[in-house]
Structures are given as structure tokens and as C-alpha cells.
């Protein structure tokens, strides 16, 4: 059983999370032509080894998280909040989630 440590909720079973795929920069929808847009939609690195990806804590806080994982062993290398996310205390103040559940 794989455990993911949610940056907001702490260690949880992987079945609580939804896999969102590899993280990548999205082209600007206002200016992108179909070619780079389709490339962004369909093409990915699919590496055998470390990869940075997006997950959603679907059955928990329903927030997105960034997971670094080795795809050959499923070892979790790092987990963090998406860039620019508010601090833990601010988030907890709005959701009322117990702070002792933080990793």
C-alpha cells in the first residue's frame, strides 16, 4: 500500500488521491495555436524514473499537490504544495482542519 503525505492533511492512503498526470506549463489559451495546444494536451515525457506530477486529494481536503515520484519503484521523492499556495495556517483557518494533522 502506498501512502501519500498530503501537505495539508498528513499521511493518507493513496486511494484517497486522484492522479492528475505529469506537471507541465500550459500554453496561453488566448494566443496558442492548435499545434502547441494539442502537444500540451497529448504529449508527455512518460519517463521511467523520477517525475513531477499533480495529484488531487479527492477524498480529503480536495486540494491539489505536487508529487515527485520514481515511476519504476513508486517511491515518493518529495511532496509539496503547488507554487504560490497560501501558507498552512491561512488554509487551516479557512477550512477548520486540525493543525496537528500537518506532516
Amino acid at each position: 500500500m502506498i501512502t501519500l503525505s498530503c501537505p495539508w492533511c498528513g499521511p493518507r492512503n493513496v486511494t484517497e488521491f486522484a492522479y492528475g498526470g505529469e506537471s507541465g506549463a500550459r500554453p496561453d489559451p488566448a494566443t496558442a495555436t492548435p499545434q502547441p495546444w494539442r502537444r500540451y494536451l497529448y504529449t508527455n515525457a512518460n519517463p521511467a524514473g523520477p517525475v513531477t506530477e499533480t495529484w488531487l486529494h479527492r477524498a480529503g481536503c480536495r486540494r491539489y499537490l505536487v508529487v515527485e515520484r520514481d515511476t519504476t519503484t513508486n517511491e515518493i521523492l518529495a511532496i509539496r504544495r503547488p507554487g504560490g499556495a497560501p501558507s498552512t495556517s491561512a488554509r487551516h483557518a479557512t477550512t477548520g482542519r486540525a493543525t496537528e494533522q500537518r506532516p
Partner: protein
């Protein structure tokens, strides 16, 4: 092209596999004469006309049809492990052609046609049992999709019909068709030509057929790099040395994007494990193949009496083939919802294979932007049933240099062009 009879064998094998017959079986049984190997070992030559990467059913079928249909015998099939050790030996051996799009149906129906004649073509018993394939509908949306599939199937000439729960109960007496079930069965898509086959025998049969025509099969030969000069493929680097070849074909499954990366060709592929499991053998009671998309499970009983279970791919991309407890727990619960009387049956083993999933659940076949580099990949969870037709069409594509009509919809360029062939409605779980 030259190739057959160059005499590069390693001495362990001095003859081709004989034609198998009842007479030969009786003769060798009485005299104790040994059977020669069905395919031979060879030294790796420095050059071939065609190098095929991946010794599964797709790679070996491509090699076989290159030699048998087009006389191209200077072919090497390279596999980093043993032949049939990947998806070809890990699938649940289910064959069917009741897909959703006319392109998909025409393609898989040709495959089923080739499978029907395969034992005679290859002189190898592949144990194809056309016992029927049933896809259950547990809600109105599924039933609508079944009707859609049945009508498109009939239009293309494939035998499919929607049946009601009473008919389901007649075909599978142990099924719980009561309205009290957690997911009541509202009907099913019934596809009589579907069935199961012995997947190892298909791999071995194609290996023997290709070998007897001069194709060299190299096991334990890993491809480490692909040489590309000025947009043209010139050969491959392997763990046993360099090989030059004007044509290189990627017939791998879970590793297909890694192999294509070596040639600098980007693939819209995600690699997901797909798990399956098998029970202890019991007396025959289940004739058709039973699939439930809602419950993410498919069940068939082998000739040995074991029940084979499969599911949808794991919930996240990975190259790991370790089995997981969540899978077995979910699977057991779903199977018991369909057939509660199986509650004290024990599982013998579980395993996983790697599937290269594409965004539209259709394969990627044909030429690539690198001249001479062909792909037959993106086969996701449905590659085994398409083995013969893929081999036949890829061989034609390579031999003639023109993409056959049957595989034209599956070109790599469709993603950039936005012309996807959406088969998710029929391929996602419904094996």
C-alpha cells in the same frame, strides 16, 4: 532479399522445426526421437534489412508476415527478455471485435478472422475457443452504449446483439441477475464470435513461423539506442553490439515511448500497469467471457478450469509491475457481486503488465517523422487481440512503403491534426 540460409546459427540447432502432425507425434513418441527447437539461436549479425524491437505477438507477427507475405526474410526480432514475456504473456487472452467506431470494428474483425485460421496457418495449436463474449450493462447509460455498439457492429457485419437479463441467466447460470443486486443487470451486449485463446501459443506459433522462414529471433538483447542520421534511421545499439538497418520497427508496449525517445520521436503515451489474477482450477461452469464495465472486471474460465480475472489499469502511471492489495480487494468484491457462489474460491496468483495508453484509446501505427522508423505501439489494454492484423498490416506498410487503408486512421500524425479515433467507450474496460 537475401537472408535465409546464411548459416549463422550457433550450432545448437541444425534444422528447422518440422511440420507438426499426428503421424510425427506418434513416431517420435515411439522412437523417443527429440523434437528440434521451434526457433533457433543465432549470433547477432552486423546488419539486417529490418530490425524489429520487441518479441511479443506484434513484433513476431510483423516478422512472420514480412517473410510469409512479402518475402523479406533478413529480419531480426530483438527482445530485452524472453519472447512473450511482456504484454503478450500477461494479458487475459480475450478476443473480440465488438468495438465502437467503424474503423476499430473493421480492424479488430480482420484480426479475429486471422485468429480463426491461425492454427492451420502456423501449424501450431493456439487453442482458440469461440465461446462468446458478454458485456453487462448495469445502468441506462451502459445499455445505450451497448445498443449503439450493437447497431454499428451489425452495420459493419459483426455479430453483436443486446440481450435481456433472462438470456444472460441462461448463458451464465451462476450470475446474479436479480433486481436486488447492488448493480442490477439490465441487459448485455452479446458477441458470439468472441472468446479466449492460449496467448503463449500465439507467440510461440509466430516465432516458429518466422524462424522457419529465415527470421532471426534474438532474446536477451536489449536496445540501448537508435541511430538517426539526417532524419533517417541507420541502425540500433544493443547490449550485444551495434546493428545497422535501414528500417527499425518499434513493437514494444509499456516501454514504447522510451524506445521512440531514442529515435527522437515524441509519443502521446502514458504507461500504466494493468493487473490480473487467476484462481485455483474448478470444474467447468462458465462458458462465455463475462465483462462488466461498471464493476471494472472481466472473467473467463480457462481450459484448465482456472478463473482468469482482469480489471482496468491501475489508477496512476507507473513502470512497476508489483501487484497491489487494493486491486485484489476491489476485484474480489466485484466478482462476488456478479457471482456470489464463488465466495470460497481461492486466488492462485496475481500479476501486472505494462500498457502504453494513448489519449483516444486507439493504437499508433505506421511511419514516423524519422524516415525508416516505424511504430506499432499505443496498444494499451487491447493489444493482444489485435496481434495478427497489426503484424499483417505493419508488414504491408514496411514492404510497400505505403500505409494500408486499415491502419491509416491510427497514424501518429492524428494527434497534431486533432483527428482522434475515440474508442474509450468500447476499449477502456471492456476486454
Amino acid at each position: 532479399m537475401a537472408g535465409a540460409g546464411r548459416g549463422h546459427g550457433n550450432g545448437a540447432t541444425n534444422g528447422r522445426s518440422p511440420r507438426y502432425s499426428a503421424w510425427d507425434l506418434a513416431r517420435r513418441g515411439l522412437t523417443g526421437e527429440a523434437w528440434p527447437p521451434a526457433w533457433r539461436k543465432h549470433e547477432l549479425r552486423p546488419s539486417y534489412d529490418v530490425v524489429i524491437i520487441g518479441g511479443g505477438v506484434h513484433g513476431l507477427a510483423t516478422a512472420h508476415y514480412l517473410a510469409a507475405n512479402h518475402g523479406i526474410t533478413d529480419v531480426a526480432v530483438l527482445d530485452k527478455g524472453y519472447i512473450g514475456g511482456g504484454g503478450s504473456g500477461r494479458n487475459t487472452a480475450i478476443l473480440r471485435s465488438n468495438y465502437l467506431t467503424p474503423e476499430g470494428i473493421a480492424f479488430y474483425d480482420r484480426s479475429l478472422e486471422l485468429y480463426r485460421g491461425l492454427a492451420a496457418d502456423l501449424n501450431f495449436n493456439v487453442m482458440f475457443s469461440q465461446r462468446g463474449h458478454m458485456t453487462l450493462a448495469h445502468n441506462d447509460a451502459s445499455l445505450r452504449t451497448m445498443r449503439w455498439r450493437a447497431e454499428v457492429n451489425k452495420l459493419v457485419g459483426v455479430d453483436s446483439e443486446v440481450i435481456d437479463p433472462d438470456e444472460v441467466a441462461k448463458l451464465v447460470p451462476r450470475m446474479d441477475v436479480s433486481s436486488e443486486a447492488r448493480y442490477p443487470i439490465l441487459g448485455a451486449l452479446w458477441h458470439p464470435p468472441g472468446g479466449i485463446i492460449r496467448h503463449d501459443a500465439v507467440v510461440w506459433g509466430y516465432a516458429r513461423g518466422a524462424d522457419s522462414r529465415g527470421v532471426q529471433i534474438h532474446q536477451n538483447t536489449e536496445v540501448l539506442g537508435i541511430d538517426v542520421v539526417a532524419g533517417r534511421v541507420t541502425g540500433v545499439q544493443t547490449s550485444r553490439g551495434a546493428v545497422s538497418a535501414p528500417i527499425v520497427v518499434n513493437c514494444t508496449a509499456g516501454w514504447s515511448s522510451l524506445i521512440s525517445d531514442m529515435a527522437g520521436v515524441e509519443m502521446p503515451v502514458h504507461t500504466f500497469p494493468l493487473q490480473a489474477a487467476v484462481t485455483e482450477p474448478v470444474q467447468p461452469f462458465l462458458d462465455p467471457v463475462v465483462v462488466s464495465g461498471t464493476l471494472h472486471v472481466y472473467v473467463s474460465q480457462t481450459d484448465r478450469g482456472e478463473l482468469v480475472f482482469g480489471a482496468s489499469v491501475d489508477p496512476f502511471a507507473s513502470y512497476s509491475t508489483r501487484g497491489s492489495l487494493e486491486f485484489i480487494e476491489g476485484l474480489a468484491g466485484h466478482v462476488l457481486q456478479l457471482m456470489p457462489s464463488l465466495h470460497n474460491l481461492r486466488l492462485l496468483r496475481q500479476w501486472a503488465g505494462l500498457c502504453d495508453m494513448t489519449p483516444d484509446y486507439s493504437p499508433i501505427m505506421g511511419p514516423t517523422p524519422v524516415e525508416g522508423f516505424y511504430v506499432d505501439v499505443g496498444w494499451g489494454t487491447y493489444g493482444f487481440k489485435a496481434g495478427p492484423v497489426s503484424g499483417e498490416q505493419m508488414a504491408a506498410c514496411i514492404a510497400t512503403g505505403a500505409t494500408p487503408e486499415l491502419i491509416a486512421p491510427f497514424a501518429l500524425s492524428r494527434f497534431a491534426a486533432g483527428e482522434l479515433v475515440g474508442e474509450k467507450g468500447a476499449a477502456a474496460v471492456g476486454h
